[in-house]
């Protein structure tokens, strides 16, 4: 495990990696939902992927990067196997509703917010600390955005996961 970013550049590389991993995961989810005819959730995940993509572009512009820097040799040292903003691969269900998807996104943003907060406290570099606090504040805004969005979508019924039809086989 690496010791954490020591320079602003290292830190922003890590933040960028976080956004990019989130884009990849949300895009994967969107494709899988589309394949399973869950249009509404597919669209929602695609929107999330776009947002994260925008954040990634912002970081690249801010740092003047044309491509993402390579990760450090021992990895970024995330607290979990994947970056904080990446929704877990098994957190989806083919019948999930927009409410579930937004809960996923909410949890992701909250993890990201917490991560930046902890990093800000732990770092010894002033520039890193300031940048981490900035990003923490941004993630907090995202949290609020997702919360507001959640207010607007209906709660799923109790039997949302019930599919009367059995699985089928193909090969």
């Amino acid at each position: 495990m690496s010791a954490g970013p020591r320079t602003l550049s290292e830190f922003m590389a890590q933040a960028l990696a976080m956004e990019r991993e989130a884009v990849e995961r949300y895009t994967e989810f969107a494709d899988a939902m589309e394949m399973h005819n869950n249009r509404d959730v597919a669209a929602l995940f695609r929107t999330m992927a776009q947002y994260e993509g925008k954040h990634a572009s912002q970081i690249m512009d801010q740092m003047g990067w044309t491509h993402a820097p390579d990760p450090p040799a021992g990895g970024f040292g995330w607290p979990d196997p994947e970056a904080p903003e990446t929704a877990p691969f098994d957190a989806v269900h083919y019948l999930m509703q927009p409410w579930h998807a937004l809960q996923l996104a909410l949890a992701a943003e909250q993890r990201a917010e917490a991560f930046f907060g902890e990093l800000a406290q732990a770092t010894t570099s002033e520039s890193v600390r300031r940048a981490a606090l900035e990003l923490q504040a941004e993630e907090h805004e995202h949290v609020e955005l997702v919360r507001a969005w959640l207010e607007k979508v209906p709660m799923p019924d109790g039997d949302w996961a019930t599919d009367p039809d059995p699985p089928r086989y193909l090969d």
């Binding site: 399973h36 005819n37 083919y94 039997d159 009367p164 089928r168 193909l170």
Partner: protein, 604 residues
């Protein structure tokens, strides 16, 4: 493709005296397709509709189709309901009810519509796709989901069930009974869904323009709701199978899954093997030990089993291998039907290796034909391949309770201490008594190597000749009785077919008769060994034949031409899967063929 008007033709089912009972020609029937994307319970609604039809004293057939996803993909339940048993889907659907349209257009080829069909979709899910609308069918949009939501706790598919059932003419109490009997959960949900069901029925009552089933007497007599795979499994057990080795493969897995608990109940057992090489060798081992044994597979699995089937031939150990045929070759189209394993089944073993090949002609017939295969394999100490297919195997039908054909395994075994016992004695019939392990005084070694009458390996020309003759003679000289084929009608022209296509051919023959074109129908049930004398008898007075089958290589046509003398110049109508052969196109083919009197034309 010309679409014939469906007439009310009802031809008296004449046929060879003593021919086994089979379903009458099609009268009025209603065809309903229910479609939608994942999680909607399309299959459940379809199964309930079929169940309701059964309760209403009707007959019917349900075929399922779905996308490539394991769960949640687009799906359609395709039903045909009628007052007589149905063995085939109709040419077009009277009603397509789609709970949503996501990817349902993929089923367009399987849900043909005509100008007088009705298409119902959810008003909030967009218009019916062009591929359906272009048929000219009447498109109706109803707020299906909203209507269901108006009844808290109810499901859209139950509303759809009521709507489809009502439109088809299924009485409300039958629909309600079907729903009640399948409901396994809390009562509150049941009430809500009953309400949705009735809302659908009420909506249907106000709609006109779809063919409904005429009211009529409910079918009397005992009936079953069953799939071809289940029927084959039950037929196997009735015939005496008590050991099965299984390896899962689409579309045979349900046959094996049905047999697993069933065998235990009759004192038998099922073993899951590591692959098909193992499963076929396991059943040979069990059968060598005296226990009638079976396995079920599909094309790719049968291909793996061929070496061992040859072993069963050479060592004269009876086994039954059910091949639920699917689209081929190789991995092919696993979830769709085709009749393309015929050539392989009748000739796909190395060496001169005679074996039994049978093919059920309908879902109901899967029972009797599998049962017969068991009896034959055991009587003749040879492997029997039963050619079922995905259409029969995985579709469900309401059938008359089949009489027990009475075929039961009865292996000729040797008595203990028989003097001068020779396992492979060159008997007149070709069948030599088999020593069952555990019996004293008649110990032998079974062998795939060519052998003497005593079973000692031999490369002598005389021994090879004697054993080859024996193995061929025992199958060729057996009296297979009237079950070898269904022969119906009397005419100068005959249509020959096999397997699941029989249902559609039978309907086509009836429709052609209504137009004054009479042909004889011969549906083969025993494909190997060939039956030249019997076919010659069946073709007495016949001047030309048309062979109908669902494969690309005209396999039955070529096989018949190779093994039989056929009158005139035989014609072929053949088309590969995945789509079923439909009565209208077959009727056209028969009529054109007859009118042209030009027997060489190959229509494909």
């Amino acid at each position: 493709m010309p679409v014939l008007e469906i007439t009310e033709a009802r031809t008296d089912p004449g046929g060879a005296a003593g021919a086994p009972a089979r379903s009458a020609t099609a009268g009025t029937s209603v065809s309903v397709a229910i479609a939608g994307s994942g999680g909607n319970g399309v299959m459940t609604a379809g199964a309930m509709l079929l169940d309701a039809a059964a309760r209403a004293g009707l007959y019917g057939l349900m075929v399922r189709t779905s996308g490539p996803q394991i769960r949640g993909g687009e799906a359609a339940a395709l039903l045909r309901l009628a007052r007589r048993p149905m063995d085939a889907l109709d040419d077009t659907f009277d009603l397509l009810l789609a709970m949503d349209w996501q990817n349902v257009h993929r089923f367009a080829d399987e849900i043909p519509l005509r100008a007088t069909s009705m298409v119902i979709g959810d008003a909030d899910e967009g218009a019916a796709p062009e591929v359906f609308a272009s048929s000219g069918a009447r498109c109706v949009a109803l707020p299906l989901k909203k209507m269901a939501k108006a009844i808290p706790g109810s499901w859209t598919n139950m509303l759809a069930l009521g709507l489809a059932g009502g439109l088809a003419g299924i009485p409300a109490q039958a629909l309600e009974a079907a729903l009640r009997s399948s409901w396994k959960r809390a009562d509150a949900g049941l009430q809500a869904n009953l309400a949705a069901l009735h809302a659908g029925i009420a909506e249907a009552a106000g709609m006109a323009g779809i063919a409904r089933l005429d009211p009529g007497a409910a079918a009397s007599g005992r009936r079953w709701l069953i799939s071809g795979n289940e029927a084959a499994g039950y037929g196997a057990i009735r015939g005496g199978i008590r050991f099965v080795a299984a390896y899962p493969i689409t579309p045979a897995t349900e046959l094996l899954e049905w047999m697993a608990p069933a065998l235990a109940k009759v004192g038998g057992s099922l073993l899951q093997a590591e692959d098909e090489l193992a499963s076929v060798n396991m059943i040979i081992g069990a059968s060598y030990g005296g226990v009638p044994s079976l396995t079920a597979t599909a094309g790719p699995g049968l291909a793996l089993m061929t070496e061992a089937i040859g072993l069963a031939v050479s060592s004269e150990v009876p086994i039954v291998v059910v091949d639920v045929m699917r689209g081929g070759p190789s991995t092919g189209i696993p979830a769709k039907s085709e009749q393309s394993d015929l050539s392989f089944a009748v000739s796909g073993l190395h060496g001169d290796a005679p074996r039994l090949v049978l093919a059920p002609t309908s879902i109901a017939d899967c029972l009797a034909t599998t049962q017969w295969a068991v009896q034959l394999a055991e009587a003749l100490q040879a492997p029997a391949i039963v050619l079922s297919d995905q259409f029969m195997g995985q579709s469900r039908a309401i059938i008359d309770r089949p009489a027990d054909a009475g075929f039961v395994a009865a292996r000729l075994t040797a008595a203990a201490n028989t003097s001068d016992y020779k396992r492979y004695r060159d008997t007149v019939s070709g069948v030599s008594p088999m020593a069952i392990p555990g019996t004293p005084g008649i110990v032998y070694t079974a062998d795939g190597l060519e052998h003497t009458e005593a079973g000692i390996p031999s490369s002598q020309p005389r021994d090879h000749r004697i054993q080859l003759d024996k193995r061929e003679r025992k199958l060729a000289q057996y009296d297979y009785g009237r079950w070898w084929a269904d022969i119906e009608g009397d005419a100068e022209a005959a249509v020959i077919t096999f397997g699941s296509v029989t249902g559609a051919v039978r309907e086509a023959v009836a429709r052609a008769a209504a137009q004054g074109i009479h042909v004889k129908l011969i549906a083969l049930r025993l494909l190997a060994p060939a039956q030249p004398l019997r076919l010659a008898e069946a073709l007495a007075g016949v001047r030309r034949v048309l062979v109908v089958e669902q494969n690309h290589g005209a396999q039955l046509y070529r096989y018949l031409r190779a093994m039989y003398d056929l009158p005139g110049r035989p014609a072929s109508f053949h088309r590969p899967g995945p789509l079923p052969l439909r009565p209208a196109e077959l009727t056209s083919a028969i009529v054109e063929w007859q009118r042209a009197h030009s027997p060489e034309k190959e229509i494909a």
